[in-house]
């Protein structure tokens, strides 16, 4: 598998560190109920199909990337910079 980093171009999978599903972007507010933290840290939709997840371009530009891809076929639909996403 290769990922097309918006800054560095088409790069080998080994340059990236994998974190997990997009859920990690939705950190609960301080003081949120425990169930929300559990949801954020542990519970996952874990789809067999389209998933959005977080990759870190460790051996490249050091940017966090939000990748939309298919977990069954390994096809990549899009790669965005987390830093440039509208909040």
């Amino acid at each position: 598998m290769r990922l097309k980093c918006p800054l560095c171009g088409d790069r080998d999978r080994r340059e990236f560190y994998y974190y997990g599903a997009e859920d990690y972007l939705h950190r609960p507010a301080e003081g949120a109920p425990l169930a929300e933290w559990d949801n954020y840290l542990h519970l996952r939709d874990n789809p067999a199909g389209v998933l959005r997840d977080l990759w870190y371009h460790e051996a490249g530009c050091s940017q966090w990337l939000l990748v939309t891809r298919n977990t069954v076929t390994h096809e990549i639909a899009s790669v965005e910079l987390v830093a440039e996403r509208a909040k």
Binding site: G20, A35, L41, L43, R44, N46, A48, T71
Partner: protein, 416 residues
Amino acid sequence: MRYSGLKVLTEGLFGNKGWGPAWRDPSPKGEYDAIIIGGGGHGLATAFYLAKNHGLTNIAVLEKGYLGSGNIGRNTTIVRANYMIPGNTEFYSHSMKLWEGMEAELNYNVMHSQRGLINLFHSDGQRDYWVRRGNAMINQGDDAILLDREGVREYLPYLDFENTRFPIYGGILHPRGGSARHDAVAWGYARGADSRGVDLIQNCEVTGIDIENGVVRGVQTTRGAIRAKKVGVIVAGRSSQVAAMAGMRLPIESHVLQAFVTEGLKPVIDHVISFGMGHFYISQSDKGGLVFGGDLDFYASYASRGNLPMVEHVMEAGMTLMPMIGRAKVLRSWGGIMDMTPDGSPIIDKTHVEGLFIDCGWNYGGFKAVPASGWCMAHLMATGTSHEVARKFRLDRFATGHLLDEEGTGSQHNLH
């Protein structure tokens, strides 16, 4: 039909005409006392122990493909009881005892071979860790023997003892560890369950779970609706999909794990060996193939095949440890879908739906767990209470903070 030496002999003399199928191929009935979703090792063992230990025989196992088509037929068959933390150690110890009685219990040859597992260490820190883990194993009543470098050399003279980057300091020998024939374990439990009246229904995919007022009523399948008072979800890598049918979101991410086998060779590797630097472990099957593997591909995937970087890593690690395998030809590689939990330990528990139970989160270590998981899941489904050796495998432990992080690597699905 009971298998015996005499039976093999007489069948051999009279043209092998007297063998029958090992289990029936029934059509689903309209209703059962209990349904098991998933005909892998864990589902079949659960059905077997429900019938044998709890006298529940009006039950069915529903399998979307054929029996043993999932991870039970894809793993690298290591059986061990070398866990360290409370919650895990008693469970795997129980499992090992069941392994040791399995062939007699099932009247089936699962080729269980306690050839010994050797975990190597390569630094002072790793030695301290393994000494501690070995002591935990001994305290649990299992076996562990500390080997120094020369002790390892006696068992495994073919390792590269000259390697200066990853010197071999020693190893922990777990004599009761070993391997077994994976398909045979599924077949043995299938036959045992069938002969006690359990319906094993293949090509029957569960597509929905019927729930009324918080109580499970049955399931929808590609072969029609089936009612049941109790339902057990035991579907390994597909746990999130099936649990979602009951409105649940699980603490699971599915990852692919690869394995490899070479052409058949004469006996050369007598033990199961695990490298302590880089991910590589190996054993030799009874057919002669070297069976080996490494780590996850490290990202969520439902493809039953992996990527080349992990192939390369595994080959490199193998060549570093035992250069002699360099001329063996790799025949096949494959992948299986692993149900990874954030702490690397499994779940055997009730759910928020009455009568609905779940057994999942085996990560890449569920083969050795097959008998004890079946035993404990059957206990839970029959009695409504957790078996004492599985009482920490709770579904809510992530929310409550009672993690079972055997490796101490943290609460992230791909770190175990």
